[in-house]
C-alpha cells in the first residue's frame, strides 16, 4: 500500500581483487505507484539485485534517496513500510522448522504460530509445518519463502527471480500461487527477472533496463486481463512489443 520513488544519484561498486570499479547507476529515477506490480526486466549482471537491495535497505552505499509514500488515505507507519523480500535462493533457516521460519518475522505476536500455519495452508504446505526446510524440494522451499513474505502482510514486496531454477510447470504453478496471494493481500511489488515471458504473465508494468550505467530503455504498461495472461499468443504478442 505504498508508492516508491527511487532517485539514485550514483551507485558504483569499488574495485575489488583485480576487477575494476563499476558504475551501476547514474541519475536513475523510477517511480512505482501503490499496488503496482512492476517487473524489472534486464540481462543478468546489470544491477537488478543491487536495486532491490538498495530499496530493501541492505545496501546503503549510494548517493540518492528512496522514498516510500503511503497510498492516498493511508497513514504512514512510523517505523517505515512493512517490507518483504523473496530472494533468489529461499534463504530459510535450515535449523528451524518450516513453521518457525514463517512465524519468526512476525516477532512477539502471540498469534504468530497460528498466522504462520494459516499462511502455510494457503501455499499448500500445512502438512510440512514441522519438517526442516532441507527435507523439502526446491519448489516447496520457494513456497515457504513466499509464505514467509506474505505472512507479515507486507506493504512492499521485493522479489528477485524467486522462481529461477524450477522447471517450467513448477514455475507456472508458483506464478499462479503468487497471483492468488496478491489478490488476498495486495502489495506494491518490484519483481526482478530476465525472463520476458514471466514478466508479461505477471506484471502490470514492465520496465526494461540495459546498458552500464543501467538506463530504462522501455517502460510498458501491461493491460492484459487474467484470462489473457494465461493465453500464450496474447503473452507472446506483448512480449515482442516489450523486447522490440
Amino acid at each position: 500500500m505504498t508508492g516508491i520513488t527511487i532517485d539514485i544519484g550514483e551507485k558504483r561498486f569499488p574495485a575489488v581483487a583485480g576487477a575494476p570499479a563499476r558504475l551501476i547507476y547514474r541519475d536513475f529515477r523510477l517511480e512505482v505507484a501503490p499496488f503496482a506490480f512492476v517487473v524489472l526486466l534486464a540481462p543478468s549482471g546489470l544491477g537488478k539485485t543491487t536495486l532491490l537491495n538498495m530499496v530493501a535497505g541492505l545496501d546503503r552505499d549510494f548517493s540518492g534517496t528512496i522514498r516510500f509514500e503511503p497510498a492516498a488515505g493511508a497513514a504512514a507507519r512510523p517505523e517505515g513500510p512493512r517490507l518483504a523480500y523473496a530472494f533468489q535462493s529461499p534463504r530459510l533457516l535450515p535449523w528451524r522448522s518450516v513453521l518457525d521460519n514463517v512465524a519468526l518475522p512476525l516477532g512477539r505476536d502471540p498469534a504468530a504460530a497460528e498466522k504462520a500455519l494459516a499462511m502455510l495452508r494457503q501455499v499448500g504446505l500445512e502438512e510440512q509445518a514441522d519438517a526442516y526446510p532441507e527435507r523439502l524440494s526446491l519448489g516447496q522451499q520457494r513456497r515457504v519463502a513466499l509464505a514467509r513474505a506474505f505472512a507479515i502482510d507486507p506493504d512492499v514486496l521485493l522479489m528477485d527471480e524467486p522462481f529461477v531454477s524450477l522447471d517450467e510447470a513448477g514455475a507456472a504453478r508458483l506464478r499462479d500461487l503468487l497471483r492468488r496471494l496478491l489478490v488476498a493481500r495486495p502489495a506494491t511489488v518490484m519483481f526482478v527477472t530476465h525472463d520476458s515471458r514471466e514478466a508479461v504473465e505477471l506484471g502490470s508494468r514492465i520496465v526494461r533496463l540495459d546498458g552500464a550505467p543501467a538506463q530504462i530503455v522501455a517502460d510498458v504498461a501491461v493491460g492484459l486481463s487474467p484470462q489473457q495472461r494465461r493465453a500464450p499468443d496474447a503473452v507472446e504478442a506483448l512480449r515482442r512489443q516489450v523486447i522490440g
Binding site: G57, L58, A84, Y85, W95
Partner: protein, 268 residues
C-alpha cells in the same frame, strides 16, 4: 577384570551408543577391551614385578582407595576444576573468537597473539600463573583456562568468519532484531564450532588439570597421582587413571554426544 567388564557395560547402555552402532559394535568393543585386559594380565605375569601390577592388583588398589571415599572425593574435586576452567575457557575463548572472526582489522592486530598463546607450552602458563598469583584455586583454574582459550578462539573465529551473509540480510529485512538474530540465525551456525571446541576442549582441559594439581594443589586426582608416584605405588596410579578415564568417557557419552545429536537434528 571385573571392574573393566562392568565399566564397558555402563558406557554402552547409558550413552545410547549401542543403539546407534548396533549390538554387534558394542560386542566388538567389549571383546576388544577384554583382549586388552588379557594382554595386560599376560604382561604382568611375564614381567612379574610390583612396577607392573596386573588387573587384580589394580582392582584391589581401587577398592582400597574407594574404601575411605578418597577416590570419589578426589575425582569430584578434579571434575569441579575441569568444569570451572572449561566454562571460563569456552566463554572467554568464544567471545574473542567471534569478535576476531567478525572484524578483519582486529584479527590482523590480535591474530598473531593467538598464534603465540597457542604455541606457549602448557607448563609455562601453569608456572607463570602460580608464580604471579600464588598457589591458589583461582590461579589453578586460570592456568588451565588460559591454556584452552586460544584453541576455542581459533575454532570460533573460523565459525564467525563463515557466518552466512545471506541469512544475515534475511534477518535484517524481516526485522528480527539483534537478540532474535543471535538466537535463531547466528548461534545455530556456530553450534558445530562450539561442539568441536568443547570436544577437543574437554580432552585438553582434564589432562592439564591433572598437571596443575600435581604442581600446586593439595587434593584432586593429580595430587594423588603425585603421592603414589613418590611411593612408586603403580597400582594406585593405574587405579586412579582407570577410574578417571571411565568418568570422562561417561561424561562424553551421556552429555556431549546427545547434545551434539540434538544440535544436528535438522541435518538430512
Amino acid at each position: 577384570m571385573a571392574f573393566l567388564r562392568s565399566g564397558t557395560a555402563t558406557t554402552g547402555g547409558s550413552g545410547g551408543e549401542a543403539a546407534r552402532s548396533g549390538l554387534a559394535g558394542a560386542t566388538m568393543t567389549l571383546i576388544s577391551l577384554a583382549l586388552l585386559a588379557l594382554a595386560w594380565q599376560a604382561a604382568a605375569w611375564l614381567i612379574d614385578s610390583p612396577l607392573l601390577p596386573g588387573p587384580p592388583e589394580v582392582a584391589a588398589a581401587l577398592m582400597r582407595a574407594s574404601a575411605d571415599f578418597a577416590l570419589p572425593r578426589n575425582i569430584l574435586i578434579t571434575l569441579g576444576r575441569v568444569a570451572a576452567s572449561f566454562l571460563v575457557a569456552m566463554v572467554v575463548g568464544a567471545a574473542i573468537g567471534i569478535v576476531l572472526g567478525r572484524s578483519k582489522a582486529l584479527d590482523r592486530v590480535f591474530g598473531p597473539w593467538l598464534i603465540v598463546l597457542l604455541n606457549l607450552p602448557a607448563l609455562v602458563v601453569i608456572i607463570l600463573c602460580y608464580v604471579w598469583f600464588g598457589l591458589t584455586e583461582a590461579a589453578a583454574i586460570t592456568a588451565v583456562a588460559v591454556n584452552k582459550i586460544p584453541n576455542v578462539a581459533v575454532t570460533l573465529r573460523e565459525g564467525a568468519a563463515a557466518l552466512s551473509r545471506e541469512l544475515d540480510e534475511m534477518a535484517l529485512v524481516y526485522r528480527f532484531g539483534p537478540l532474535r538474530t543471535l538466537r535463531h540465525v547466528v548461534l545455530p551456525q556456530l553450534a558445530p564450532f562450539f561442539a568441536a571446541a568443547a570436544r577437543s576442549g574437554l580432552a585438553l582441559t582434564w589432562k592439564i588439570v591433572l598437571v596443575v594439581e600435581l604442581l600446586g594443589r593439595s587434593n584432586g586426582v593429580g595430587f594423588e597421582l603425585q603421592t603414589a608416584f613418590q611411593l612408586f605405588d603403580v597400582a594406585t596410579v593405574l587405579a586412579y587413571a582407570l577410574a578417571f578415564t571411565l568418568v570422562v568417557q561417561i561424561i562424553e557419552l551421556v552429555l556431549l554426544q546427545p547434545l551434539e545429536r540434538r544440535a544436528g537434528r535438522w541435518r538430512r
